[in-house]
Amino acid sequence: MEQKVSNNNSFMGYTRSDLTNFLIAMILSFVAIPLVVQTDYWYSSILIPWLCLALAAIGQQIVMGYAGQLALGAAGFMAAGAFACFNLILRVPDIPFFVALGLSGLVAAAFGILFGLPSLRVRGIYLMVATLASQFFIVWMIDKFGWFKNYDTSGIITAQDIVILGKPFTSPLEMYLVILVVVTVLTVLAVNMARGSTGRNWMAVRDMDIAAESMGISLLKTKLQAFAICAFYCGVAGALFAFTYLKSLEPVAFDIKLSFKILFMVILGGLGTISGAFIGAAFILLFPVLLNSVGNNVFHGAIDATIISSIEQVVFGVLIIVFMIYEPLGMAKLWGNIKQRFSINK
């Protein structure tokens, strides 16, 4: 007799609570937030950068948290994606925005494969140095070859408006919705990849690559796939980041500091979880805002802005160390622990 694996409570292997959570998140983000939040500040300074950076963090998460490859070049891939999108819209007449976005992701993915090649030979800090090459090289290349910047000499290029089916999406709320659609699709995709055979292969390679190889998993394919997908996510995130948050294109915006930020999002948020990317991005983004408002409201600007940003740096550093010591799986795990403590059916 054929045993039915899935029961009525699940859909494609997801439990009912997973689906409810997803539904709640969708209603919250697509309906509740647009209805409740009216100030542009929230969209343009918090929600938009949060979603963009979370998307990049998912990419970093895939290559680092799932496939276990220590890469430090997310901002380079973001730059590649951003400038690819700029050039596609500039040079290809009537290209639909989502097509341009997808193609710029693919351009970034090509760079990802190229700079992921060293991962076949090395790991750990060796790989980190190799990926640093991508960071410095891509940003340099965009900066030095005028074609990428359309021979603009001012250094700052205004991003084109997002136009979908003839309708411009320029207000913060409209841009938020565009990003939300992209992020939702890519997140669902990432979750599915992570829990399918692709993700299992990544995790096998992460946990012991030689063992994985001897079990018939192709290291070449798995590692390069992880790098390509990471770069794709980063590229799309970079394009969105430039078009909706920065509203300009400048190579300096994608410097190594941004790469470190994305790395920190993943480490603090929790390695090996997609939700960790969102939690980490929220924390890294919101903490400086919080610190600044404390500086302004409690100390009334008595503390110098440079001191505040230094404190921010120290806190991030300390948190990394503390999390490494006490909870290497990051904030996502902390959240899980809290949930478990309060749940009835353990």
């Binding site: 060293p118 190799a130 440079t306 230094s310 300390v318």
Partner: protein, 300 residues
């Protein structure tokens, strides 16, 4: 003839600038040898040390006093690192330790800036960054006095460290720990003291490296990025070899200068920023363990 001279000049300048990379890489190797930890914070230590040094000088302390005080401060940093970061993370994977040292780097950078500010400081060591006259007279080469000093300082440091490791009890203990930490501590070698010694030595090396860099480029945050270039140096030289750090530094220094001068103009310049990393990639593909590193053998 002038072209040959110019080439030699470029190479010599590159080699001498490379010793500065070597100085940063040296601190890295010290810590890696003793504890198999990739200390990503070495660049931040360079920045922290030299900023502290300049800070003490600005307080009116004399040069030697500031130097001693900064050395003591670096020993304190090493002590805190050992107690608060490394000890709790003992026996963790290399990647975990690496991430922890990235955190440590951020802490040091933040603390340094909070304490001494972000503006660019000048550091005058009394050695000018200008060509030495007698070398111009004799060889017709323009070689900066600062570069030569950096070269000499690097040589002295390395000889000093080599003697320390070879002939002192501490050095013997250190080599034992590097070989097998478990066995070393089971025969009574004080692991903690050894770690403190290593981190202090790395701190002093960082200070010296920072002074050399600071005298050339000003004491500023960009030092951290410069120090990142010690990473390709290590890949070329191997993480566990002191001669490797030196030779790696020389190779990187010379290559990036030659590339910048001869290839740079065709690409709009500033290829120094990534050339060392790409060079490192080629080395990785050919010889992942570096020129002098131990061969990496991994088993299931």
């Amino acid at each position: 003839m002038t072209e040959v001279l110019f080439f030699i000049e470029v190479v010599v300048a590159g080699l001498l600038a490379g010793t500065m990379y070597s100085l940063v890489a040296l601190g890295f190797v010290l810590i890696y040898k003793a504890s198999s930890t990739f200390n990503f914070a070495q660049g931040a230590m360079v920045f922290f040390a030299v900023l502290a040094f300049v800070g003490f000088m600005e307080l009116g302390l004399s040069f030697p006093v500031s130097f001693v005080v900064t050395v003591l401060l670096m020993v304190l940093v090493g002590f805190c690192t050992e107690r608060l970061v490394l000890n709790p993370l003992m026996n963790q994977s290399e990647d975990t330790l690496l991430m922890a040292t990235i955190g440590l780097g951020f802490v040091l950078e933040g603390l340094a800036q909070a304490a001494w500010g972000v503006e660019v400081r000048r550091l005058d060591l009394g050695i000018g960054d200008f060509p030495i006259e007698w070398i111009i007279d004799v060889f017709g080469l323009f070689v900066s006095a600062l570069d030569v000093t950096a070269g000499i300082v690097a040589a002295v440091l390395i000889i000093g460290l080599a003697l320390l490791f070879k002939y002192t009890r501490m050095g013997l203990g250190l080599r034992a720990v590097a070989d097998d930490p478990g066995a070393a501590s089971s025969i009574g070698i004080p692991l903690k003291n050894i770690m403190l010694l290593v981190w202090s030595a790395a701190g002093v090396v960082a200070l010296v490296a920072g002074m050399m860099w600071g005298a050339r480029a000003g004491v500023q945050f960009a030092l951290v990025d410069l120090a990142l270039k010690a990473l390709p140096v290590l890949i070329i030289g191997g993480f566990s070899s002191i001669p490797g750090a030196i030779i790696g530094g020389l190779i990187i220094g010379a290559t990036e200068k030659v590339l910048e001068v001869y290839l740079g103009p065709f690409f709009g310049g500033a290829i120094e920023g990534w050339a060392p990393y790409v060079l490192a990639i080629f080395f990785l593909l050919y010889r992942p363990e570096g020129l002098f590193g131990e061969k990496i053998i991994r088993r299931v």
